[in-house]
Symmetry: C2
Subunit: 138 residues, 2 copies
Amino acid sequence: MVIDHLGIVVTSIEDGIRHWEDVFGYRQMTEVVVNSRQNVKVVFLAKEQSITVKLIEPVDEASPAYRLAKRGGGLHHLCFKCENIDRELGQLTQKGLRVLSQPAPGEAFENENIAFIFAKQGLNIELIDTDKKAMRRF
Amino acid sequence: MVIDHLGIVVTSIEDGIRHWEDVFGYRQMTEVVVNSRQNVKVVFLAKEQSITVKLIEPVDEASPAYRLAKRGGGLHHLCFKCENIDRELGQLTQKGLRVLSQPAPGEAFENENIAFIFAKQGLNIELIDTDKKAMRRF
């Protein structure tokens, strides 16, 4: 599995898009999608030869992104793409990692399965299947 | 400028290397280098088709990585590589970003200049010149 994109929490997704376009030269690649399972709005931005970025704005206090947004936002998680999410999840739990949310459809990925794992050492990671990258483009 | 690597704080650089090798399939690309300006030990790890990772262990309380290590570690900064660090820094400060440390030799990059910037929205970024990537390999 390899890192597909970075999850970055912002207090306002519109301000975040402007910031990443203006300061870092990224461009918006998808519409803003509401993920009702994580209680977040998300959008993907890309730049040639650079890693894809997903901006995340919590929609309420129940969101796992809420606490970081309250502190002003920042780096939130790494998303790894893998061949088989269930097999990978089995291997990661065998290594002692803890599943935060089991594979379930993610609206930002056209309802393909995503999962979240606490990867120890302060890292939260997301898992998606390899072929989802093309599906979330405009 | 494009993202070159991720800076991730760990409480123990040896444990961090083992974790990234065992769990994520990365491999150590450099020796562990002490950066006396930032009061950190750093090491680079890489994996094919995935973004390079720099693990950072603070050596004392004066390190900017100390607070995050006390909380157990986690994602710390994004490092952008650019053509001309001074010109890029000028453009970023014109956009209202604040320089945390001016360009100065970084031991982990064979004494080439690096700089740190607070990029707003909770993001700290590092700047390096484009041609440094090859220099820090074994």
